[in-house]
């Protein structure tokens, strides 16, 4: 096969592979993703069986029931809130007023956090304004 045709064949093969991989990337990212929601949206539109990434601020008055942490999360700027039950690692910066991200799913009417999915904002990024509950 002449050099130019060989190069073209290689280019077509490489581009084909790239397109296939890109399609897989797009497909899997849509099928494996969790919708990010605020507490207000979760209360209004949350469905059973789906997982959501809940973001908001921790309200005062969270408590532990054995290994389960029970707390309410409210909208970043708003009053709507939702109660969640969570067991797993609790990051050190977790406390009232802190912004958290948690993957939740509804089980028997309660919003339950996925084990070890609770993350709290990095401590270098707190400010007096952010901390207010």
């Amino acid at each position: 096969m002449p050099g130019s045709r060989k190069r073209r064949a290689r280019m077509v093969a490489a581009l084909g592979a790239a397109v296939l991989l890109a399609a897989a990337l797009v497909w899997t990212s849509f099928t494996a993703s969790s919708e990010a929601v605020t507490p207000g949206t979760l209360v209004r539109t949350g469905e059973d069986g789906r997982s959501y990434q809940l973001t908001g601020k921790v309200l005062p008055g969270y408590e532990r029931e054995d290994d389960v942490l029970v707390f309410r999360v409210r909208d970043r700027s708003g009053t709507a809130s939702v109660a969640v039950r969570y067991s797993g690692a609790v990051p050190d910066p977790f406390r009232e007023g802190r912004e958290i991200i948690l993957t939740v799913r509804r089980q028997h009417g309660d919003w339950v956090g996925e084990r070890d999915s609770l993350v709290t904002k990095c401590p270098s990024k707190f400010s007096a304004r952010d901390d207010s509950p």
Binding site: P91, R95, C122
Partner: protein, 716 residues
């Protein structure tokens, strides 16, 4: 001091604007005196910003709470070391640090370019000053670190306790050095495009800066991971968070560039690719900074309530559009007539390595920005988690490790079948042996991905070991010296090559650690009282007794854990939880304030080459609630003399009537390999970046095939 500081910031902005104008005018009109004035503006900028940094550091050291930044991020009880580093724990201070580091590295780049690449220097200087000007605009008008607090606070809020860790102190300057150093090749690539000098000249000027950026980013990423593992109470070192990814992506493209630049230097090909990679790495460094500042993506590391997003976004759009336009404008100059001779050559492996590295960068970018992409396409903001990232990054990482072993042993241009057999026999035999052992040993045999990575890493170690051995043997034969001296001489004479090989070994070791600790980690969350036992993996862990310590800054409540394996004591671990008080006792009570502030985990860690045993504790303070509330009620403002007494009473009660505590117990294999591999890679990079002697450097320049004549570079 405050006025002087603000004046310095304004002067710095003025210098940047003047420098840009002078550099561009000097370059366009061929007026060397204006080009020199532009260059001197860079040096002056560094000087002025150094004075600004000194003023702010002095304010932190003296606890001058008339500076708003000092009051919000330091206190009289903060140790001096942390006072001096508290500046970059804030948005405003970290932006100033960015601008200062950029001006410092730019000055160094201009010093080098003044002697070696005067034609490129004015344009590169103008680009660097434009970047500095943007950051100085932010610190002057949107996030000023030098603001008056009137009246001055009596004491400050103090530095966030979790940030009081040596790794956290060095982590931001390292990351920012990595980002700012990545802008030097970016600036010289722009200069090369503007002046049509896209041969190897701009590469020679910036290669060390690119390597410096890689070194600093590696160091910064590793320090952040180490801090996360040993200080944060979640038991991991990487979470695929957008801001973490933002540091990894320029690291990946920078790594790709370091390899492909070699191909252009050697073979004169990949001009367009290299310019694009340098531009992309520079822009991705700014993008990384933007992600932290803007709050555009939900990230644990992003600053909240920031107003910096829109200007950053506009700036990045300008950078991308300008870079694309320049590349298209100069596409004829970027055409490389030379082609790859054979698929079995080092340059082909470098190209494949670039494909994998850029592929990794694209996957991570896609996953990071997926919330925005999904919102744009579907109206719903969705995000992907760690399993999605692992699905793509693990196979690509295995391919990358394998290529990092193949590259060093293949010759440039082409290899024949005889030399292939000779070069690959030992590494392939080692990989086969690793495959056999791995397939027989549980639990490795049950994890195909981990096994594949171990095999690839063994191949790399054997391939690189063979290269060192062959080189040292040849040197020993020619000099008659002993093996260690021959090996030392070999590395000293070819620092770039053998330093690079050490980096390959370091990364392979690091990824073995990542694979093992991810695939075979065992975690248990238990609630125990003294005397209780729990097992995790092959270890039995017994809660022996509680511990308590009353300090000036924090109250520590913890536990002593007896860790045993097969009945034999391995170690005693002392995890604890530190409670830091809120500043105002009126807000939460004399004793209550100690439990309303920050609390941090002190990890009980036993690390060796085989595995880490990692423990944290969270005491259940509910049984002490009545005691705390009672003291707060009776002694609402007890004062500094009484407070330690109450704390000691509480500590004593904790020791005598220890409550149950929640423990997280982790046994994670080969975590130490992550840090050892990282340090090895850093050492290799230091060897590679170390300047060669002047005579050898001149010889290398003369030997480079695509080197332009010196007269071209010297002409203004």
């Amino acid at each position: 001091m405050l006025t002087l500081g603000r004046a310095c910031l304004l002067l710095a902005l003025g210098l940047a604007v003047f420098g840009i104008a002078a550099s561009v005018y000097g370059a366009r009109r061929e007026r060397p005196e204006w080009a020199a004035a532009g260059r001197r503006s860079v040096y002056a900028l560094f000087g002025v910003l150094t004075v600004t940094m000194a003023i702010l550091e002095l304010a932190f050291a003296r606890s001058d709470f008339s500076f708003r930044l000092v009051a919000s991020h330091s206190s009289t009880t903060t140790p001096l070391f942390y006072k001096l580093t508290a500046m970059w724990s804030s948005q405003e201070g970290s932006l100033l640090l960015w601008a200062w580091l950029l001006s410092g590295w730019s000055s160094l780049a201009m010093l080098v370019a003044e002697r070696r690449a005067r034609a490129l220097a004015p344009w590169a200087g103008a680009v660097l000053l434009a970047l500095a000007g943007f950051f100085l605009g932010l610190v002057n008008f949107l996030a000023n670190p030098i603001q008056l607090l009137d009246p001055a606070a009596v004491d400050g809020n103090g530095l966030q306790p979790l940030l009081r860790h040596p790794a956290m102190v060095i982590h931001p300057p390292m990351l920012y050095s990595g980002y700012t150093l990545a802008t030097i090749p970016f600036a010289f690539a722009i200069a090369g495009l503007v002046t049509r000098r896209v041969d190897a000249g701009w590469i020679r000027q910036t290669r060390r800066f690119m390597l410096g950026s890689w070194l600093a980013l590696t160091c910064g990423i590793l320090l952040g991971a180490r801090w996360s593992w040993s200080e944060l109470g979640w038991g991991g070192y990487w979470a695929w968070d957008p801001v973490e990814n933002a540091a990894l992506v320029p690291w990946l493209t920078g790594t790709a560039a370091l390899h492909s630049l070699m191909v252009q230097e050697r073979r004169g090909t990949l001009k367009a690719w290299n310019v694009t990679l340098a531009l992309a790495t520079g822009i991705l460094a700014i993008l990384g900074t933007f992600l932290v500042r803007s709050g555009i993506l939900q990230s644990i590391h992003a600053f909240g309530a920031s107003t910096l997003g829109p200007p950053f976004l506009a700036f990045i759009v300008v950078l991308i559009a300008g870079s694309l336009a320049l590349v298209l404008w100069r596409r004829d100059a970027l055409h490389s007539p030379a082609r790859l001779d054979s698929l079995l050559s080092r340059e082909t492996v470098f190209v494949l390595n670039n494909v994998v590295l850029v592929g990794l960068a694209l996957v991570i970018l896609w996953g990071t920005f997926f919330p925005l992409i999904s919102e744009l396409l579907t109206g719903d903001r969705a995000s992907v988690g760690p399993p999605w990232f692992s699905r793509y990054t693990v196979p690509l990482a295995i391919a990358l490790v394998l290529l990092s072993g193949i590259g060093p042993i293949l010759p440039w241009r082409r290899a024949n079948s005889r030399s292939l057999r000779r070069l690959f026999a030992i590494p392939l035999a080692a990989a086969a042996a690793a495959a056999t052992v791995g397939a027989l040993v549980a639990p490795v045999s049950g994890s195909p991905r981990a096994l594949a990575l171990f095999i690839a890493a063994t191949f790399v170690l054997a391939a690189v070991g063979q290269e060192y051995w062959r080189g040292a043997r040849a040197r020993r034969a020619s000099t008659g010296r002993a093996w260690p001296i021959a090996l030392g001489g070999l590395v000293a004479r070819n620092r770039r090559r053998y330093g690079g090989y050490a980096v390959h070994v370091g990364i392979a070791v690091l990824l073995v650690g990542v694979a093992a600790s991810s695939a075979f980690q065992q975690v248990r969350d238990v609630r125990m009282k003294p005397g209780d036992r729990a097992t995790v993996g092959a270890y039995e862990i017994r809660y022996v007794r509680p511990t308590a310590d009353v300090g000036r800054e924090k109250l520590s409540l913890g536990a002593v854990l007896d860790v045993r394996r097969d009945g034999h004591r391995v170690t005693l671990l002392r995890p604890s939880r530190g409670y830091y008080p809120v500043a105002d006792p009126r807000a939460a009570g004399t004793l209550g304030r100690w439990f309303e502030g920050e609390s941090t985990s002190e990890v009980g860690l036993r690390a060796d080459l085989r595995r880490d045993v990692w423990t944290v504790v969270e005491p259940d303070l509910q049984p002490f609630r009545r005691m705390i509330d009672g003291i707060d009620e009776r002694f609402p403002l007890a004062g500094a003399e009484m407070e330690p007494l109450f704390l000691r009473a509480l500590a004593e009660r904790y020791m005598l009537q220890p409550p149950p505590a929640a423990f997280r117990l982790i046994v994670s294999p080969l975590v130490l390999w992550v840090w050892v591999g990282g340090v090895l890679a850093l050492l290799g990079a230091v060897v590679a970046i170390w300047p060669a002697g002047a005579r050898r450097a001149a010889r290398e320049r003369a030997a480079a095939p695509s080197a332009p004549p010196p007269a071209v570079l010297e002409r203004v």
